[in-house]
Symmetry: C2
Subunit: 74 residues, 2 copies
């Protein structure tokens, strides 16, 4: 069960998809005393702010996997 209380940064499950070309930075916060959930916060390009990304979403998993793979293939 997702804990939406306390000092979590994301107060809902987060969005399931974000256009990759809009992503400037992706932050992963492991569970901590202030929040029991893993949280992923994406900073958008062009000062369009931040969005919570659902860590359970297929997009989140694939995006991170792809990002790491792409780096390795260079």
């Amino acid at each position: 069960q997702r804990d939406t209380q306390g000092r979590c940064r994301c107060q809902d499950g987060g969005t399931d998809v974000i256009l990759p070309k809009r992503i400037q930075r992706l932050e992963v916060f492991p569970p901590s005393p202030s929040c029991p959930n893993v949280e992923i916060i994406v900073t958008l390009k062009d000062n369009r702010g931040q969005k919570c990304l659902n860590p359970e979403s297929t997009f989140a998993k694939n995006y991170i996997k792809r990002a790491i793979k792409k780096r390795s293939a260079e």
Copy 2:
């Protein structure tokens, strides 16, 4: 070939392992006009600063995979 020039944040390949319990936050920067590499920057707990993590390292891949999985299993 890794591009260590330009405005990359990590001027070397980065460390291969960081103790998970020391990790406060992990940032993934996709390739961009300012740096052609995927870069992973880890912020350490207790104000111990930041470290570049080698995106190619087994640790980096497994840590991120595990973090996402752990979230889903809750």
